[in-house]
Each structure stands twice: as C-alpha cells, then as structure tokens.
Amino acid sequence: MTGAALMLCVVLLPAAGAAASLVVPERAMAVTALLEVAVLGVALALLALAVQGPAIDAFDHWLHLDGLSGVVLLVVAIVSVLAAVYSAAYMRHELHEGIVRGSEVRRYFAVLHLFVFTMVAVTVAGNLGLLWTAISATTLASAPLVHFYGSREPLEAAWKYLVLTVAGSLIALLGFLILYQAGVGPLGPTYNFSVAVVAGAAAHLSPLLAGAAFLLVLVGFGTKAGLAPMHAWLPDAHSQAPSPVCAMLSGAELNCALLGIFRVYALAAPAAGGAMLRTGLVVFGVASMLVGIVFLISQRDFKRLLAYSSIEQMGLISLGVGLGTPVALLGALLLVVAHGLTKSLLFFATGNLLLRFRTTAIGEVHGVIRTMPWTAILLIGGALAIAGAPPFGVFIADLSIVSGAFAGHLWALGALTGVLMVTAFVPLVLPFHSMTFSPGARTGGEVGALALAPAFALLGAVLVLGVWVPGPLEQLLHSAMTVLPR
C-alpha cells in the first residue's frame, strides 16, 4: 500500500505546485520549486521500492511503475526540480529588465507545474488509456509555455507544435484502440486495458493487430518524440520557448513520448515477433540521427543547435532499444538519463547567455570566458558532454550502444552509428568554443548564483555518470531492461 500512496503523492504534488503558484507573490516563486523538491524526494523513495521487487501496481491497475517508467520518472523529477529553480532566477531577471510582467510570471509558474504534473502522470499511468491521455496532455500543458514571449515566432512555433503533435497523438490513439482489439481474443470483449493485464496476455495477442498497433504508436508518438521525418516542429518549439522550458521539453518531455512507444513495443513484441518491430525502431532511429546531424552542421542559432542534437539523441535511443542486445539496451536507457541531464545543463547555460546577450545567434556572442567565466565552464563542459567526449555519461551510453550493435553481429549498423557520432562531434563543440573564446567586448557579467547552481549540479551528475554508475541507478537500469524485449 505504501507504493500506491507514494504514486498518488508523486503525481498530486506538482498539481499542488500549480495551485500554490496562483497565491505566492511573484518575487517568491522559488518557493513553489520546493514542491518539485518534494516530488523528487517521493520519486526517489518510489524508485527505491520499485527496484527491490516486481512492478508497483495499484488502484485496479490504474497506476503502475516498473523499471522502464522508473527511469523516465527519475529524469522527469530531476529536470523539473532544477528547471523550477532555474526558472525562478530566469524570471527574476526578466522581471527586473521589464521584459515580462508579474502576472505573466505567476501564470508561467502555474502552467510549468501543470506541465510537470502531466509528465509525472505519464510515468505512473498503468491504464493504457490514461497513458495516452497523459502523453497528449503534456503537449497541451507545454504549448502555452512555448508561446510565453508572445511575439510572432513563439506563436508560430507553438501552433506548429500543437497541430503536428496532436495529429501524431491521434494516430497513436488509433494504435491504442487497435492494441485493445488485439487483446479481445485472449481477454474477452471487455477487459481492463492496462499495462499489467495486457502484459499478462502479451504472448496471446493477435499478432497482426499487435504489429499494426505498434507501428501506429511509433509514427504517432514518434512525432512527439521528434523522430525524423516527423520532427519538423521540434527545432521551432525547442528554440522559441524560455530556456528553462526548453530544458524540460528536450530533457524530460521527449522521454515521456519515448516511454509511450517503448511500452507498446514491449506489449506487442511477444505476439508480433521482435524482428519487424525492431526494424521500425532502427529505421526511425537512423533517420533521426542523419537528419539531426545534417542540420547540426552550419547551424547558426545555438538553441536550434541543441534542438537538432535532441533529434539525433532520440534517434540514438530508439536505435539502441531497437538493437535489443543487453549492452545496447543498457546504453539506450543510460542515454535517456545522460541526455536528459546534459541537455538541460546546456539549455540552462545558454539561457544565461540569452539573458546577457539577448540573441540566439552564435555569431553575435563573443568572449564568454572573460565576461561570464562560470557560464563558460558550463558551456564547454556541456558541449563536450553532449558531443560524447569522455569522461561524461553520454560517452559511456554511446559506447555501449555501438558495442551492443557489434555484440549482436550488426557490423554495418554499428560502424554507421559510430561514424555518425564522430561526425556530430565537431559541429556540436565548435560553436560553443567560438562563443566562449572569441575576442569580444567586455559587458555584463554572470546573471547570479541561482542561475548557475542548477547547471553545475547537472555538470557534476553527468561527470559522475561518466566514471561510475551508482549502484541503485544500475539496479534501476537493469530492472528497466527486463521490461524491454531482447
């Protein structure tokens, strides 16, 4: 029963945060971040419980948490806490500069916590209808945040984001309905459409329907996860939103969409046969890596650069899961964590640049090392980390995925992945190097300690992940592996 209570608690706390944002004074919005700290605390307790035994399943299968959703919950909770803290610093600066009004900041925090609420709901959803609803709700909660600055470009980005991801969600819904039908054979015409029940009958689902359901969900939620060629909205939305929101969109929300895909993958694979499903993940994965890398090269906007890097990394994660060898699975799951933390770190660091230089053009930012030395450390550390340099978490994950491909005797695929990763290195690192070290005017200074602390916490975390995966996290990753098909 503790598991059930904790799950209820973890999903309701962010909703309380949304309510609190409506009454707390604008300048004290950091206080509402405390509720997200509580979310992280409860999430950790829940994960400690989840890795010890079988999945936690409660309220007639409405809520469910296993290793797979646990990994996503961990990332969502960490990124949300830090994004809430960073938002307080970011919005205080925007208020001070007179760019936003107090009432806008209040609304921003209310919607931010609602967004966290929808993402946490995705991770603890046990009923598959609820899972679909929660994933769709993440779009609806985050679109107003993308539109926050209200000018023409954010408006275009928010509209495109809504139209394309809602269309994707509807395609995924068709997939969920067909998945329901796939279970009618073994389970009868009316059954509890939940992860636990469908997983129990997974081997007896109708193979054709299960396969069709997976492909529809892959295309539908693949749109939301930014997989190519359905990624068109992502660089716009992930570059126009305020930086703390970008961190949540790239670092946390994309993983929620992936969770929807992997959940259906795990349920459909036993009946439909892994080979065809796996091919789908690998094809979309490689396509996303290619598209991401092509647009990384010659990118002139540092936020769009990070967005295209997210497309590439999502591709790599789905490739790793599609490869299905134990080492590749472990690498893909580690990459969910490492990418989520590293990308958030970079959006926080470039957020500081944006507040100081008021531009996202790489060519207009100079000499960061002299004016903002702490931010410069974050930029260089973050750029090396996301590009896959040792000793950072992404490096270990990348290495595992490539060696997982070789372990499965997929030589060409392993070699291609390796080449793509190396190709991405220079276009990712060079812009940050030029912004940091190029000669330039000495203006401004750091934004403040509160604007640096969240990113430094993340830099520390991704460094630790590069040299040593802590025991409990390793347990969690292994527990997640058992959910995914091999």
Binding site: N127, G129, W159, L162, L170, L177, V184, P235, R304
Partner: protein, 214 residues
C-alpha cells in the same frame, strides 16, 4: 438496427468529406458540429439496441460538448474570420477530393485485412471510422487556415470515437471522460492561439506566420 447505424456512420463519413472541401471557415465548423451530433445519435441508437448505459452517456456528451459547446467556443474566438472564404490552399479542390477518395479506399482495405472481432457494429463501419480519421488529419495538413486545421483534428478525433465504438463498444466511461476533457482543453488552448494569430497577422492563414527556418 444495423441499417440505422450504418446510415448514421455514412453521414459521419460524408461530413468528413464536407470538411475537406468546404471553403468558408464557418462552414467547416458547422460541418464538425453536425458530424458530432450524428455521432452522438449513433451512440444513442446503439444504446437503444444494447442497453449499455455508457453508450448513452457517450452519445449525450458528444452532442452537448462536441456538437454545441466546442463549436460555440470556436465561433466566439474566431468570429472575425468566420464568414471568410479561404483563398489560398495547399491542395486544390479536385486534388483534395481525389486524395480523400484514395484515403477512404485505403481505410476500407485496412479494415478488411485486420482480423477484428465484430461487436455491436459491422466491419464496413470500421472502414468508415478509419476513413473519417484519415480525412480529418488530411484536412489539417492540406489547409492553411488555423480554424480549419483545428476542425480537421477534431473531426479525426470523432473518427477515433467511432473506431472505439466499433471495436470495443467504448473504452469505459472514465477513459472517455478524460478524452473529452483532453479535447476540451485542447480546443481552449488552440482557440486562444487562433485569437493571437488573428491579432498578429490580421487573418488566420498560418502561412502568413512563416518565419522560422533551418
């Protein structure tokens, strides 16, 4: 019974075609309202035949929320453009109709191929339901007007409700309620943005917004 259900489902399909080709912004919203009311009627007809009370609830909710409330919300937000004709389209009238027919064919073939366990409705209705979904999504992609794009998404969702009726007689009331809530919040967020689009470019033509590239 089967005849009534099939007739109503055919009307839902026809209204999806109407959305695809109607040029006046207001006409597409009215088409969606009519489609929702027919869909609600279909659910109520199925309730009359089977006695499943959640079908009655689904039917009434569809008529009240999708047939009346949502069109009213959209009309309130989009009043300035409501009577306008859309002048520029991504895809012209004959091409749109042809592609729509092609999508309908694909839907029927897919529905025939997949091994469904028939419930209250027969297999041709499944083909129509999938066709409505595809036509709605196609409308969204083929048109530039923000209001029409929203209506296309809503029509696709109607198609999915119909798919749900065919394959599971509804997924359970709680899930359907959360789906209605989802749709309602989606309409609220999107009509807010439609108002902002209208304020920004003095029309609801989304191609006027286009600036983000690369």
């Amino acid at each position: 019974m089967d005849l009534i259900a099939t007739t109503l489902a055919t009307l839902v399909l026809l209204s999806a075609f109407w959305l695809l080709i109607a040029r006046r912004v207001g006409a597409t919203v009215n088409g969606y309202a009519a489609q929702s009311i027919v869909l609600g009627g279909l659910a109520i007809a199925l309730f009359a035949g089977s006695g499943q009370t959640d079908l009655l609830a689904l039917g009434l909710l569809a008529i009240l929320i999708k047939g009346l409330l949502i069109p009213a919300v959209i009309e309130r937000q989009a009043r300035p453009v409501y009577g306008l004709r859309e002048l520029q389209y991504q895809v012209g009238f004959p091409t749109a109709l042809l592609l729509g027919a092609g999508l309908t064919l694909i839907a029927f073939v897919a529905a025939g191929r997949l091994p469904f366990h028939p419930g209250l409705l027969s297999e041709p209705v499944l083909g129509m339901a999938i066709a409505v979904t595809l036509l709605g999504l196609f409308t969204t992609m083929a048109r530039r007007d923000a209001v029409v794009q929203l209506t296309g998404l809503l029509a696709a969702e109607n198609g999915l409700i119909l798919v749900g009726l065919v394959i599971s007689s509804g997924l359970g009331l709680l899930i359907e309620l959360s789906l209605f809530l989802d749709v309602l919040i989606g309409v609220a967020v999107m009509s807010f943005l439609i108002t902002r689009i209208h304020e920004t470019v003095a029309s609801t033509d989304t191609s006027e917004l286009r600036r983000l590239r690369g």
